[in-house]
């Protein structure tokens, strides 16, 4: 028994070693690219590697990271969620209404957070339920939701920006801990939680399975429908969290917030090595992907490049990342 157990533990150990070697290889590429970017910007600009700027980058990465973590769930099952940018606006507007209620500051803030998260979660659930129930492409359903949510945000807010939140709420947005923005720590916790769910739970296992072969998962007796719904619901939930962070940072909630955020989130996931056809990828990759986009944006500003140039370069980076991933996937497979 003892011998057997050790043997098994060894298999488990070597198994993990092998797996992590491959996954290291998978993420190493992105990690190296990130390191290269950091070195380039440290050398070419004066202010890149300063405490202030690092705090800046972390703050700028935060919202995209939160959205990208949710997006990872959806892309892993071979779906896509185009609605998160609009959902962010809708959640922010709903929360803005709630926070303006005259019920005392702690209550108003709690209501706002609850409202944002609830709105995001419900919309995500709708995305998932509709596309899973009728087996429709999530691209189309979430494109519809993109318009619905944006319209709803404009309608509820009367197309007006909501200002003047309680100062306690704003303080949360700018609070730092040893120079690290608290909102970033929230995003990081979320990423950690997502990593745990995807790698250590039955649900996470089924999501990877779904992305590879829906039929195999169904025939193994699992409910494909609820897995899909859950993935989209999680994505909507992260849009709610992102909305709260957005409000706390900018002290406004605007119905035109978050335009195009979904594309940045998708880009972070894809740069992070998650396959658009599903079944392959990781939250660690997404984290690195979000950082690449954030560092690139920050560094290019410091270099004094124009908005237009930055946009072009970011686009090129996305394309190059996907090409590199193609070769990396080939290599790690053999």
């Amino acid at each position: 028994m003892n011998v057997e157990a050790t043997g098994l533990a060894q298999t488990a150990f070597t198994g993990r070693k092998k797996l992590s070697f491959k996954s290291v290889l998978r993420e190493a590429g992105i990690g190296l690219a990130l390191v290269a970017l950091v070195i380039i910007f440290s050398v070419t600009t004066e202010h890149f590697l300063t405490a202030n700027n690092i705090t800046n980058i972390l703050t700028q990465v935060t919202i995209n990271l939160v959205l990208a973590v949710g997006m990872t769930f959806v892309i892993l099952i071979g779906g896509i969620d185009l609605s998160v940018g609009s959902l962010l606006a809708l959640c922010a507007v709903v929360a803005g209404k709630a926070i303006s209620l005259d019920v005392g500051v702690p209550m108003a803030i709690s209501l706002a957070v609850l409202a944002a998260v609830l709105a995001g979660t419900v919309c995500g659930l709708l995305n998932g339920a509709i596309s899973a129930f009728w087996a429709l492409p999530s691209f189309i359903i979430t494109l519809g939701m993109l318009n619905v949510a944006r319209g709803a945000a404009l309608h509820i807010s009367d197309a007006r920006t909501i200002y003047s939140f309680p100062s306690e709420f704003n303080a949360f947005g700018s609070m730092t801990l040893y120079g690290i923005p608290v909102v970033f720590l929230v995003a990081l916790m979320l990423a950690l939680l997502a990593w745990f769910v995807l790698t250590r739970t039955v649900f996470g296992r089924l999501l990877y399975g779904l992305g590879n072969s829906e039929e195999a998962v169904r025939l193994a007796g699992h409910s494909v429908f609820w897995c899909k719904v859950a993935a989209f619901t999680i994505c909507g939930f992260t849009a709610g969290i992102a909305a709260i962070i957005y409000m706390a940072r900018l002290n406004i909630s605007s119905p035109i917030a978050g335009v195009g955020f979904e594309l940045n989130a998708i880009a972070a996931v894809i740069i992070g090595g998650t396959s658009l056809s599903g079944g392959r990828g990781s939250v660690l990759g997404t984290l690195l992907g979000a950082f690449i986009i954030g560092v690139l944006a920050n560094g290019l500003i410091l270099l004094g490049l124009s908005d237009f140039m930055r946009q072009m370069i970011t686009g090129v980076v996305i394309i190059v990342a996907v090409i590199l991933d193609h070769y990396r996937a080939k290599y790690t497979r053999n």
Binding site: G15, S213, G221
Partner: protein, 527 residues
């Protein structure tokens, strides 16, 4: 001719060109071919010659190098060493297109059809006919497709049908029609009959005989030795990347070939027949069970007992797979009743069927049975995740130990349980699928073509597994197109035709003729 590109090739050429042209009727000669993939030696000395107008069988276990050899012949891979002469000239195809241009065609084991295009578009896909204006000539395309289909006896297939709407057997035949369309000198059929029933196989061999009469050389890769002996002129045995022997069919026997293929290992298991065990109580019983596609009210009725292996025979389209899918709750049931241990049940989803102790080894291993990109251990645990988790949290050690236990029970050969399922050979993949269900200790197991695309050695092992399961009292329903398989394994065989039971054959009366006679019959329902 190209100036020879490598030294090996030039030696081969100077040595052989003249003699070959003068005395040998060989159309193609492969000499000492090697192919390495990284450190793996897929081919380590394959030699082969093909005569014009012969049907040449290529046999060997999975992993023996047949696919690699075919891929080199068709220009997909370049050999690491060795040379190939086509008509006495060095043949080094730059790619599949070049190989086709030189007249070497292959019909692959995996399907290469475009599911959403029509049959006609698929058949003409390599060379679309054009009108004088350069537009697609649809009439001509349809006409060519009609001719190609008629030539292989597929009069019943509409050229405008979308390929996805056709069954797997028809798709295979359409691939053959496509390959035969262009002028072939050498036609390679890579396990063409794996998915075909006997009637379609006969049809295929009639076609093979016809094209051979036109002087085309046919290379026939198959696990089915009876087909090899019935239709081929010569046979070459490959084992572990080497040519073992090339023999005239008349000078060898199936037993001898099997012995050569597996080397020293003797496939005794193959000869073993199921020892009749005491049958238990009725595990599953169907009464007038009908799936949506079934045209007749009477449907299917039978009792399956614990410890029994019940075979389901029938032609493609007889409703065998549909029956299993209906039982397992994948497709809706139109009418009739199903009883599980005497209690009426109806499964709305596979989930419910699984809960009642049923497992389903599907025909399509790659899409339905396995998640190829996932670890072997994860695949084994896929249907029994609650056994390797607590409150939704996975216990990886438990998962590995489950996979380890079942893997050693089924003699699974793998590099490691954390390797991807795709890294396994066909036979071992099938063992993983079986392990996935055994992880749940099912009391009823449905198996659809359990040894499709599996080599001789693994096949014997899978038979042994099934027999030992029967001894433990598991009730099994086995669909197979290989009659010897059913005859070896089963206690009883039901023959289906048109979604109805055409007849039942008890073990004492088993014979291929008896099964075929029933399969080809149609009930006279006063139509």
């Amino acid at each position: 001719m190209d100036i020879v590109q490598t030294r090996e090739a030039s030696q081969g050429q100077t040595d052989n060109q003249e003699t070959l042209q003068d005395i040998s009727p060989d159309i193609l000669t492969v000499r000492d071919l090697h192919k390495n993939f990284g450190g793996v030696k897929a081919l380590k000395g394959v030699s082969l010659s093909l005569r014009a107008g012969e049907v040449h069988a290529l046999v060997g276990e999975n992993g023996a190098g047949k696919s690699t050899l075919i891929k080199i012949l068709t220009g997909v891979f370049q050999p690491s060493a060795g040379d190939i002469l086509l008509d006495g000239q060095v043949y080094k195809p730059a790619g599949p297109r070049d190989a086709k241009f030189r007249g070497i065609q292959v019909v692959h084991q995996e399907f290469n059809l475009l599911p959403h295009l029509s049959v006609a578009e698929n058949i003409s896909f390599e060379q679309m006919p054009r009108t004088r204006l350069g537009l697609l000539d649809k009439k001509e395309m349809d006409r060519r497709a009609r001719v190609a289909l008629d030539a292989i006896g597929l009069q019943d297939v509409d050229v405008n049908a979308r390929v996805y709407s056709l069954g797997i057997a028809h798709r295979q035949l359409i691939e053959i029609a496509r390959a035969l369309q262009s002028d072939s000198r050498i036609l390679i059929l890579d396990e063409p009959t794996a998915t075909l029933t006997d009637r379609e196989t006969d049809r295929l061999f009639n076609i093979v005989a016809a094209i051979r009469a036109q002087g085309v050389t046919v290379v026939f890769v198959s696990h089915h030795l009876n087909e090899v002996f019935a239709n081929c002129d010569r046979v070459t045995v490959l084992r572990s990347g080497e040519t073992i022997v090339t023999e005239e069919i008349s000078e060898t026997s199936p037993d001898q070939l099997v012995a050569l293929m597996v080397g020293r290992r003797l496939a005794k298991e193959m000869a073993l027949e199921k020892t009749t065990t005491e049958l238990g109580s009725v595990a599953l019983s169907l009464q007038n069970f009908r799936v949506a596609k079934s045209p007749y009210e009477e449907g299917v009725s039978f009792d399956l007992r614990y410890g029994e292996i019940l075979g389901i025979a029938g032609l493609v389209g007889a409703g065998r797979t549909e029956l299993l899918r209906g039982i397992f709750g994948i497709d809706p049931v139109a009418s009739g009743q199903m009883m599980r241990e005497g209690t009426p049940v109806s499964f709305a989803s596979p989930r419910e069927a699984i809960k009642s102790g049923i497992g389903f080894v599907t025909e399509d291993r790659k899409d339905e049975g396995l998640i190829l990109d996932m670890a072997i251990a994860a695949n084994v645990a896929l249907a029994a995740l609650e056994k390797v988790s607590q409150k939704g949290l996975l216990n990886r050690l438990a998962e590995l130990s489950l996979a380890d236990r079942l893997g050693s029970m089924l003699k699974l050969k793998s590099g490691g349980l954390s390797d991807r399922a795709a890294s396994l050979s066909g036979g071992n993949q099938q063992k993983v699928v079986i392990a996935k269900w055994l992880a749940r200790d099912p009391s009823v197991l449905l198996l659809d073509e359990p040894t499709r695309g599996v080599d001789v050695g693994a096949k014997a092992e899978i038979y042994a597994i099934m027999r030992s399961l029967a001894q433990k009292g598991v009730a099994m329903l086995v669909v197979s197109s290989e009659l010897p398989e059913l005859i070896t394994l089963c206690d009883r065989i039901l023959v289906l035709s048109d979604h109805r039971v055409q007849g039942e054959i008890p073990r004492e009366a088993f014979s291929e003729e008896a099964i075929l006679r029933l399969a080809y019959q149609r009930k006279d329902q006063g139509i």
